[in-house]
């Protein structure tokens, strides 16, 4: 016997041992006898204290029945009023048929007042429903299980999204509950075209993932591709949409994410209207949209709510902020180290006066400064708010003032770093990318000067041009260039000029509105 257990253990430890999806009870059918079923459930759930297994008697027949649900995931009052009460008392009422129900469908039709209920026959369905917040009822003598939606668990209320603050426009943000999120989208897209298809991913977490798209606009091949990539995921846990993002992305770029995420329902609805596909992951307030273009990093929903001129100006500001945040320091280093003759004489004089006799070469100064800046930024994010202020004080006074007056670092360098930092915050979508690129370009320009910088930029451009997001070119509509899409790129033309959807997205249904006659 001992030998057998050892053998079994060794088998279970093998890498190709069956996982949880191969456990035999998943497909096992639910028996007629309640006691047998309860015994099996006992084995499945083990000693977990939050799984409620309450027995009661079913109506006139006085048959044994059992309610199974997870405490905390259900609303106890609804379970009592809408499930237990009808089964216990209403079934004894005089006008009820005296015929005993033989199947779960009959029970459901006769007694259930709740809208969302269904029947199932396998333990797999029972267990996954109960664990996701449904209440299950088993009745002695009737095969199968009655599953009723009585979900009610703590969730955050809908708030102003923190990462995408706006001045004008709706202030709702997605929450962690997927159903709330789909409702937020449905309220904006009141059309039967708006399709929501849900699958579950993750062997242990069993996370619901919903694919949302507009049936008549989104490219069917795109939807198929998204589904194919989702079904290829074979992992034990999905805890945030970030997991999905990494699993399904085209890859190919260590710098840029080719899948956008947003906390704002109006942003996602707008992208769906352009022919994109959205992915909502239960437990994550960030909704993914594919395909993603590089240009989207510089667009916000607000651009469409304000006058075109201002929107265009703001987009240019964001775009140049990104470029400045990446290139200011490398350019400064290249100019002061290699190409002094290119700086106008007066500027050069005042710069060298301000720089004084600092001990380090410019590139080392720049490296030191951006490392310190990144540390300060990270500290500011992670620390509790009161302590965060202390950090910014230290940063401002010690780094800004003292380092310069002590002659460690030149004043122009502090200015360059400050410009970099402020610009980096103006285009937050690719903040991580700009950090890494800045470092790379800094090294290139520190070693090879403007030449290194130029060649690095060329390679970066090529790299961007080679990227694809779900088959669509990442640099669209600039590369390949589409005149029609240029109206909504860095420029935001008046809404009534935007006649077509993006060329690389909605080939099937390109017309957005008729030209005004």
């Amino acid at each position: 016997m001992k030998k057998l257990t050892e053998l079994l253990n060794a088998f279970a430890a093998r890498p190709d041992a069956p996982g949880i999806d191969d456990t035999p009870w998943k497909t096992a059918r639910i028996e007629k006898k309640l006691d047998v079923n309860m015994k099996i459930l006992e084995d499945i759930f083990g000693p977990s204290g939050d799984v409620i297994r309450r027995r009661f008697r079913f109506g006139q027949s006085r048959k044994q029945a059992a309610l199974i649900c997870v405490d905390g995931l259900i609303r106890a009052d609804r379970v009592a009023a809408e499930i237990v009460k009808p089964l216990m008392y209403d079934s004894t009422a005089e006008d009820m048929p005296c015929v005993l129900p033989r199947t779960m469908e009959e029970v459901q039709d006769a007694y259930m007042t709740v809208g969302e209920s269904k029947t199932a026959y396998s333990f797999g369905d029972l267990v996954s429903s109960v664990l996701s917040g449904d209440a299950a009822v088993l009745i002695d003598g009737i095969p199968g299980v009655l599953i009723t939606n009585a979900k009610g668990f703590p969730q955050r209320s809908i708030e102003d999204p923190q990462t995408e603050s706006i001045l004008r426009g709706p202030r709702e943000g997605f929450v962690e509950n997927m159903r709330t999120n789909t409702a937020l989208l449905r309220r904006r897209l009141k059309t039967p075209d708006f399709t929501l298809e849900t699958t579950t991913i993750g062997k242990q977490t069993d996370t619901s993932v919903t694919i949302a798209y507009l049936r008549t606009i989104a490219d069917p091949n795109l939807v198929k591709e998204v589904k194919a990539r989702l079904s290829a995921i074979d992992t034990d846990g999905i805890l945030d949409s970030g997991y999905i993002e990494q699993f399904i992305s085209d890859g190919g770029s260590p710098f840029f994410t080719t899948i956008a995420s947003s906390e704002k329902p109006d942003a996602v609805a707008g992208k769906l209207l352009e022919g994109r596909v959205a992915l909502l992951v239960d437990g994550s307030p960030y909704v993914l949209t594919v395909p993603t273009f590089f240009i989207e990093n510089f667009q916000t929903t607000e651009d469409y709510y304000i006058a075109p001129l201002f929107a265009t100006a703001l987009r240019f500001v964001r775009f140049f902020a990104f470029i400045i945040s990446v290139l200011t320091l490398p350019l400064y280093v290249a100019l002061t180290t290699f190409h002094l003759e290119l700086i106008p004489t007066e500027l050069l004089l005042s710069m060298s006066a301000a720089k004084g006799n600092t001990p380090f070469p410019t590139v080392i100064e720049a490296l030191l400064m951006i490392i310190v800046f990144e540390i300060l930024k990270e500290a500011g994010i992670r620390l509790p708010r009161p302590a965060g202020q202390a950090v910014s004080m230290v940063g401002a006074i010690i780094i800004g003032e003292t380092a310069v007056s002590a002659g460690l670092i030149g004043a122009p360098m502090v200015i360059a770093v400050a410009i970099t930092a402020v610009s980096a915050f103006a285009s937050p979508a690719q903040a991580n990318a700009s950090m890494i690129l800045r470092l790379l370009f800094l090294l290139l320009s520190g070693i090879f000067g403007g030449l290194g910088l130029a060649l690095g930029l060329w390679l970066l451009l090529l790299h961007l041009a080679s990227l694809k997001s779900f088959g669509a070119p990442y640099l669209s509509p600039a590369v390949p260039f589409h005149m029609a899409d240029a109206k909504d790129s860095l420029i935001r033309a008046p809404l009534r000029w935007l006649l077509t959807r993006p060329t690389d997205l909605a080939k099937r249904n390109p017309r957005r509105q008729k030209p005004r006659s």
């Binding site: 106008p344 000067g449 030449l451 290194g452 130029a454 060649l455 590369v479 390949p480």
Partner: protein, 360 residues
């Protein structure tokens, strides 16, 4: 894979990528260089017309694949080998030219070897991404380059003198002939490189149209460059080694717009790198056609080719000053042989042997 538009602007940018180095011609035909450019354009159009004959005979084939078909295996192999050498030589000349420009204007203290290695490595890496990716950027780059050119022409209006075009047509006939031949050989007909890359064309690509339109766009760019240089520099063209750079250098408006040359140089260098990247793609394809198989480790081959090009560029020329002279007297004839004579012979042999599609 590339489309019609990508090919068109790719060809245009390929030609425009040489506009930093118009010295090959401007030193001999001086203020009449624009006439030379017109003559060279006419000659190039004829050459392109000859290319289209080849293209319609062998649709979807590259130049080197045509060789094997037209001449048979042995001679085809020999010719293909010669073309590989020509391409590497071409890359070496381009690299050296760029290297000279860098050491004399931008980074005088940096050893040329470093500059050359950096350029060659970048282009090899770029070519490793494939011709499709490189050409995808052609429209963007050409637009930028062209806008930059128009902008600096505008900023230079103050410095332009119409009298700089005089005297007109005073040089000997042979000078014009030589000048236009040099200009035809480089950069206009350098687009023979794209014949090698034809197998990568998208099925729907209208190659012939691309060649003509691309040539015209590129020639337009060159023409504007010549006109601007002549109008700004006049007779000093004779002794300037980088007329384009010198011209842009003269931009000086109210102390605000000055020292802009580095920005334009930057644009032109990126264009030259673009050109070299395409060239490296072509070398890779040429080598593949010659040995008759595709490589799994393309990057290794490319880096090997880049090394060869760097070595040739570094030791092939004694000083930067000798390169234009060498090109005018020797290089152009080599280029012309591979760009005009050989394709023409191929076309004639193919016509005599009645190979390929009959219909022209």
């Amino acid at each position: 894979m590339f489309t019609t538009r990508q090919l068109t602007f790719g060809i245009a940018a390929f030609i425009g990528g040489s506009s930093l180095f118009t010295v090959f011609v401007s030193q001999i035909t001086l203020q009449d260089s624009w006439i030379t450019a017109l003559l060279a354009l006419a000659a190039s159009l004829l050459t392109i017309w000859m290319y289209t004959g080849l293209i319609s005979r062998f649709p979807g084939r590259g130049l080197l694949e045509m060789h094997t078909e037209v001449y048979g295996k042995q001679i085809g192999l020999l010719l293909n080998f010669l073309y590989v050498l020509f391409c590497i030589g071409f890359a070496a000349v381009s690299l050296r030219n760029l290297g000279d420009f860098f050491s004399s204007y931008i980074m005088p203290e940096t050893p040329m070897l470093v500059v050359l290695i950096l350029f060659a490595l970048t282009c090899a890496l770029a070519a490793g991404q494939g011709i499709g990716t490189v050409l995808r950027l052609s429209f963007l780059l050409f637009t930028f380059m062209f806008l930059a050119l128009l902008l600096n022409c505008f900023l230079l209006i103050k410095n332009m003198e119409l009298s700089n075009f005089l005297p007109i047509l005073r040089l000997g006939l042979d000078t014009y002939a030589k000048g236009s031949f040099v200009l035809t050989a480089a950069p206009l007909c350098e687009i023979v490189i794209f014949l090698i890359l034809l197998p990568y064309a998208d099925r729907k690509t209208n190659v012939k149209k691309s060649f003509f339109q691309g040539l015209l766009l590129g020639a337009l760019h060159l023409m504007i460059t010549f006109l601007r240089d002549i109008a700004v520099l006049g007779s000093s063209l004779a002794f300037l080694t980088e007329p384009t750079y010198e011209a842009v250098r003269r931009i000086h408006i109210l102390d605000v717009f000055s020292r802009l040359e580095i920005i334009f140089a930057f644009v032109l260098i990126v264009m030259r790198v673009f050109k070299l990247s395409i060239l490296f793609c072509a070398i890779l394809r040429a080598v593949e056609d010659t040995v008759g198989r595709t490589f799994q480790r393309r990057r290794t081959v490319l880096i090997f080719v880049a090394t060869l090009a760097v070595i040739a560029a570094l030791f092939g020329f004694r000083t930067g000053m000798t390169l234009p002279e060498w090109f005018r007297n020797t290089g152009a004839y080599f280029f012309g042989f591979f760009e005009i004579v050989l394709p023409l012979i191929t076309l004639i042999v193919a016509a005599i042997r009645r190979l390929g599609c009959r219909k022209m």
